[in-house]
């Protein structure tokens, strides 16, 4: 508290002095400025003074800290004299420059990549980023278009197939129906034959009897023959109709030509 009061008094005294000086020597204001400049330009290079100052500073240091730790606290280079092997590495020296600037005594030229580092960096970039931007954009666009195209084609395919779906359903139903009718017809035929054979025998014979079976076979054969003849007839009729129609066409053509 006392120290603070003294400090305030000192400051006020100093300011008053300056003001007084200014008010008194207004005409010679320039002289005072010159004097100030002169006093600042003169550098007192007194080795003794310096060494005394250093001694005083050393005695003031009652912290019992290591030199490096104390320097670190005061934001100075902790090891002005390099002591360990890593104090000579590029990374450490660059950090020294980054943290302490010119005061670190490091040549700032080492901050930039050395020849080997530059070569490595260039090689890395060429491998990691081999394409140019327009090339990459074109590639991306092309890929996108490809996927879109394939999706579109697939959709169109599906649409086409969907159009046929009703027809396919109908086909399936028809097939089932045909099968059913055929099976029914075959069953009916067999029943009729059995009836015929039964009629032939006169009494109810077990269809599994041998005699019955023989008769059944005979009758089946006869039936097959009849069916074949019927088919043949149908085919002949078809051919006849075709021939007739052809003749009619040719006659018509001749008539037209004429």
């Amino acid at each position: 508290m006392l120290r603070f009061n003294l400090f305030r008094k000192f400051v006020s005294f100093h300011s008053r002095n300056v003001a007084f000086a200014n008010s008194r020597n207004k005409s010679t204001a320039v002289d005072i400025e010159k004097l100030d400049q002169d006093t600042t330009s003169i550098d007192v290079v007194d080795d003794e003074l310096k060494s005394r100052e250093e001694e005083i500073q050393r005695k003031r240091n009652k912290s019992r800290l290591k030199e490096s730790d104390r320097n670190f606290l005061f934001e100075k280079d902790p090891y002005p004299e390099p002591t360990r092997w890593h104090h000579g590495t590029l990374k450490y020296m660059r950090r020294l420059y980054g943290r302490y600037g010119e005061a670190s005594g490091v040549d700032p030229a080492i901050c930039w990549p050395v020849k080997e580092e530059l070569e490595e960096a260039i090689e890395y970039e060429q491998v990691a980023y081999p394409f140019t931007i327009p090339h990459m954009i074109a590639e991306a666009k092309r890929k996108r278009h490809e996927t879109e195209e394939s999706v579109k084609l697939r959709q169109e395919e599906i649409v086409k197939k969907m159009e046929k779906i009703e027809q396919m359903k109908q086909d399936v139903y028809n097939r089932i129906k045909n099968k059913e009718t055929e099976a029914k017809a075959a069953k009916e035929r067999k029943e009729r034959l059995i009836e015929e054979v039964r009629m032939h025998f006169g009494y109810t014979v077990d269809p599994r009897d041998e005699k019955f079976k023989e008769m059944l076979e005979k009758k089946e054969k006869e039936q097959k023959k009849a069916m074949k003849e019927a088919k043949k007839k149908a085919r002949e009729e078809n051919i006849m109709t075709k021939l007739l129609s052809k003749k009619a066409d040719t006659v018509k053509k001749d008539v037209n030509k004429q």
Binding site: R94, G98, R99, G101, C111, W112, L118, M136, R144
Partner: protein
Amino acid sequence: MGSNTTEKALSMLRFLPRVCLSNIRPHPNSRIRDKRGRGQHGGDKHGCGNKGSGQRQNYMRLGYETGNNPFYLRFPHEPYYQRHHLRREYPPVSLLQLLKFIELNRIDHTKPIDLVSVVNTGLYKLLPDQRQYGIQLTDEGADVFNLKINIEVQYATEVVIAAIEKAGGVITTAYYDQHSLQCMLNTKKFFERGVPIPKRMMPPPDAIEYYSDPAKRGYLADPDKISEERLVLAQKYGYSLPEIEKDPSYDMLTERKDPRQIFYGLHPGWVVNLRDKAILKPQDEELLKYYAN
């Protein structure tokens, strides 16, 4: 009489040792008595039953389902998190948050805003090692946003872009690679490293389309197309496009970074020293060529 007891108490205090962990009683019911299996309290067969694999401790392996295909072997492939370690993340900042930052003087809106400004508020954390690549601006607060700002983010939707342009501002989407992000997150630490500012690398192939799209205001897109898209967006969202050319802060609003630039006003290859408050630029031809590439 009272003084007698107090005297006694004080003499006790003087005599007894200091209170420490070894001479105080534990909290009631904090220590459970160990129940040894003896007699009716878990004795005789000790919970293992009679004969069988249970008592003989010959158990089947864990997960075995007595011969049928066990559950832990039924599914040979579960690709739920396929490529999850390669997907990029963009931690969000809403327009409302941004507005709050600016109104509470955490961000200066008279200068261009980018990732560095938002991170320097101390309220937004980005972790590049967790595949986080930057800011995503969300549309919460789009209806109340009314500030003219020049902002650069890493992802923004159409609504957000419209909100900012309606207020008379400019928004750009830009990509920063991991290395550049680390430089931006703690700029003081980066400059103390004493290395030159690196080049910003190009986006990966699956992001290049986004950043070259004028509709997303990508930094690699054609500026003419961007101005076209501004008009389109204005028509879509039904606001009149403010004329930035006539704005007094036109220079600030149109300030954009070069695709290789990380910080505003600083070029790749420069060494910034905070202690001396100096910027050092390289002179070597090869270095210049490398950084200008």
